[in-house]
């Protein structure tokens, strides 16, 4: 990503990114020439049916996977050129990931789960890490659950811990894969509102979801089908359509 892009606020940019996999019947193209961009502070969603390439797209943006063609730039970093360890370091500092099934480590308390990413980076002192983790748990509304193990938390609480963990190293980008898929509708709404608040505070949030009822919350929606980006709408375009049809 060029400096000009950085300056204009672009945080994520995919340029004709592709990802193919070897399959029994030959090569399988999971993502086809996808180009998109996200600016700092945007709250965006990726939608699409099963097998549309949502998870693959997220994997490329988070550096969990690498594009087989095209380019993936996040926070001025060409992810497609990094090694596995460089990608790990990159994720630690620049990307917070929230998983559908929370993926909290069951043997660590909520507080320790949040401290863990800070341990990997090692910038803050032990006491500072603890203070920040408590502050983050406070921010997501579960300060009093800090010393409980994930097992003793409800699904919504676990997802909040997962979000606090994603924020641990203060990354500019938060990526969430079906973060509400395992929650009841009330809790799901609360979680999405939390993301929305984080976006207002300057985080760039990218969420994979298949729940259409929350679509109005997102500033941008990327729709995938068969690995292709078939639609990219913004809140303003939605409003225009709504006004026209309304």
């Amino acid at each position: 990503m060029s400096n000009s892009k950085q300056l204009d606020g672009t945080l994520v940019e995919l340029r004709a990114a592709e990802r193919s996999f070897a399959a029994a019947g030959g090569s399988f193209l999971a993502l086809r020439a996808v180009s998109l961009s996200l600016r700092t502070g945007e709250f965006a969603a990726v939608v699409g049916g099963s097998g549309s390439g949502k998870s693959t797209l997220l994997n490329l943006i988070t550096g969990i996977d690498r594009a087989t063609a095209g380019e993936v730039w996040v926070a001025d970093t060409p992810l497609h050129t990094l090694t596995e360890d460089d990608l790990a370091r990159f994720r630690a500092r620049h990307v917070g990931i929230v998983f559908q099934f929370f993926q909290l480590l069951p043997s660590l308390t909520a507080l320790e789960n949040v401290i863990l990413p800070m341990d990997f980076v090692g910038v803050l002192s032990t006491a500072q890490r603890r203070d920040r983790a408590i502050q983050l748990l406070e921010q997501v509304g579960i300060r009093e659950q800090a010393n409980k193990f994930p097992d003793a938390l409800s699904g919504g609480q676990q997802q909040r811990v997962a979000i606090a963990r994603a924020l641990a190293n203060d990354p500019p980008l938060i990526v969430a894969d079906e973060p509400t898929g395992n929650l009841d509708s009330h809790t799901a709404h609360e979680v999405l509102m939390l993301f929305s608040r984080l976006a207002r505070e300057g985080k760039t949030i990218l969420v994979v979801t298949h729940e259409k009822e929350h679509r109005s919350l997102f500033r941008k929606v990327f729709e995938l089908a068969d690995g292709q980006l078939v639609n990219a709408e913004t809140a303003s375009s939605r409003r225009e359509v709504s006004a026209c049809t309304g």
Binding site: A88, A92, G96, S107, E112, F120, V121, S154, Q157
Partner: protein, 943 residues
Amino acid sequence: MHGLKKLVRDLRYSPGRTLTIVAAIALGMVAFYGVLGAYGILTREIARNYLDSAPASATLILDRVTPQLLDAVRQRPEIAGATRRANIEGRFRTNPGASFRRAYVFVVDDFANATVAKLRHERGEAIPPRGSVLLERSSVDEYDGDLGDAFELKVPHAKPHRVTVAGFVHEPALAPAKSEQAIYTYVSEETARDLGVTDFDELRILLREHQDDRALIEQSAEELATWITTQGLAKVRSIRVPPPLRHPHQTQMTAVLALFATFSGVILAMSSFLAATLMNTLMARQVREIGAMKAMGARTVNLISLYALMIFGLSAVALAFAWLPGDGVTHTLTKSVTTLLNFDVRDASLPHWVVVVDISIGLLLPLLMTIPRIISACRVTVREALFDRGLAGDPTGTGRFETLLSKLKKLPAVMAYSLRGVVRRKRQFALSLGLFMVAGGGFIGAMSIAKAWDVLLGQIDRTRHYDVEVHLTDLQDAERAKQRVSQLNDVRATEIWQTVPVALARPGRPAIERTYPDNAHGVFHLIAPPHEGKLLGVECVEGRWLLDTDTDGVVINQLVPGYADLAIGDVLTVAVAGEARRLTVVGKAIQIGVGATAYVSAATFTRLVPEARAEGQLWVAAASHATGEPSDLISHLEHGLDAADIDVKAIVPVSIVKNAMAAHFEILVKTLLLLAGLLSMIGALGLASALGVSVSERTRELGVLRAIGASARQVRDSVLFEGLGVGVASIAGAIVVGLGLALLVGDVVGEISFKVPLPLTPSLPSLALWVCGAPLFAALGSLGPARQAARIKVRDALVWLAILLAFAGTLSLSSPVVAEANKGVLTVQVNGFEDDRGQVVVKLFRREDNAPRGAGFRRINAAIQQRHASVSFADLGWGTYAVLVFHDQNANGTLDHNLLGLPSEPMGFSTGFRPSIWTGVPDFDDFKFDFGPGSNAIQIKVE
């Protein structure tokens, strides 16, 4: 047939685990086979060697054994054979200028046709011509002579006489010449006469019957002695009946080998347990395939047989691998022991019973340990099997240890994660820890026993303040010898100690000595120190040391027969030269390196012992004490006494005792160390496998770690840290096991060696070494799994997770796409609440989730509204599940229990199952249900 093919391919698919299983069993087998083989061969061969020599049932010491007496004895019906011998403690030197050294001279009546105490001819002449000797084969360690070589041989009261070596023989009942620092010579009656030995004084008899019955042997020997006396054929000085049919070292050797065999049995059991644990993980991965085979028509019994055959096959392969190294251990141990004890292995083949035990244990033990898991895995239904997820789900590990760790505020989360990882699989953790503890215990134990042995032997230096014993031929020469020796420059002090062999007296019956024919093993002496003797310190554990004023007081050491039962003030009656003498016990002592000894004052000794039977020893302390053999002092003593024309039987350095004992002990320590080494290897294997399984189970978690920023090195270090955790955790246990082992083995070894347990003496270097070694072994064991963990890629880990959640077999590993078919939402409606306080906890279990105690596969905590709650498990694959709900009234996340351990909060189970005292704690089958299309809601009532 194809089922077997499948299993073989499965094993080849996981070569690492297959090799580990085989290696684990094989290592245990090497130890077990090696030691058991040695035990079988040695116990058989020592008995065979000894019995082949037709050892005498009893020996009568007479004033003279004439040919007529011998013939008369041979005519007696109870006598199977008889021979006469003389056994003289003499000396030899290779040339006139050299120093004399110890030589036992055995005068043999009949070399050719002996029926008792037979010698096994090895080379050269079988019958030594006049002027020559046969050497016992172990003598070459002390005298490097061969056939035709000549040396000077001297017996007491006679001039040295030159003899040649005519041949070599083997007498298995004798200790190796090296340990006695003497040579054993056998001469004919003519040569003996030339040397100055005039008479045979030993009558050795072999009974026709009851050769293994000590009481009957004693009775027969007594009757024979009475008959000889009443017939006026000779005077009987003493009767000797050693333990019947048992080599002097047989009991000790058997006890030590039995100890080793037990230890190696424990090693095999632990290695088999490790193999069984590995097999369990293999079986966990097989469940789905079992379902497939069942779907194709396989019956449970077919599958159990198939998997049992697989274990059997793996054990057989391990057996094949272990056989040769095990044979090597057997051979090495056997060779060491036979060399130490001077006997031959004439048949090196394993006894049949050993082969049967080896094969049976080797093949059956792993199977026995695995069969419960095989049976449970093969009994699953097709449906359950097809939905099986393989290894168990995430163990939460939220026990006391984990809670404790969470209180350590300064502990980095990464380290907390590693430490909790150590204990999350408690059985595997216990196994790894147990293996390491026993390995370390074996090492520390072996080293501590060695140290205890040294400490005990140290008593020899601590209490014996002299360097050389001069055994005088005539007690009358003692004073003159003392004066002569005192004039030598390198002599600091000399004392005359008097001694006489004795036996426990039996009221109204002749005394019977337990002495073996070598005149050494089993001997019991009465010893008198000189007035104010200082060269021997006797440490009394009860009572006191002798006073000059004692008239019948005696101090006994622990080897004196009946020591444990004798209290201070009790009467000890000993037979001295055939006469019963009463002594009062005034002190009890523990002595090392000394045979059974009773100490009396010089005055008492003079009163009790006829002068002709008393023997004099001159104890000499060197001016400068050295730890080795004081060869210069011995040479000076030799020349000094020779110049004064004082005849000596032998000059014996004190160091001889320590040397002999050190040699006896070396094998014990080496074998223990070998077994500890094998255990350490099994321990490292155990840890490697446990961590390997742990890493496999945590693929998803490790993937998450990588996803949130952990580098490969950080993941690797985290697993290494877990291994180190096991190593460090094992240290305290290893010390406890080691000291326990030292105590146990020290008891056995000390008892059979000294009749006193070895002191518990922790070996600090071994403790220090294990403190460093345990983490090192643990780190070595963890390297493989750590590297495996570091190689996990985030995408693969997360795809793996997705596949687990997907319907069995519908996706291939290479596909990143997760099908969402065959899944649904399970709704659980709960009612029956008394109020709305707290929350409801709904736990969903699969078969492998240890229902109802485990954390469950998934769990939802929800609020209760109007005494009703409803929760949904989204994205749940079709399958068989069980649900437990409880009203978490205090919202602490756990089901509380009362003092009796019974749940104190209302609970309910799917299918309406209600536990009672008759049903006990339910298992999965008690409240399982099928979840699939059309069956997506259940209702549960808490009560």
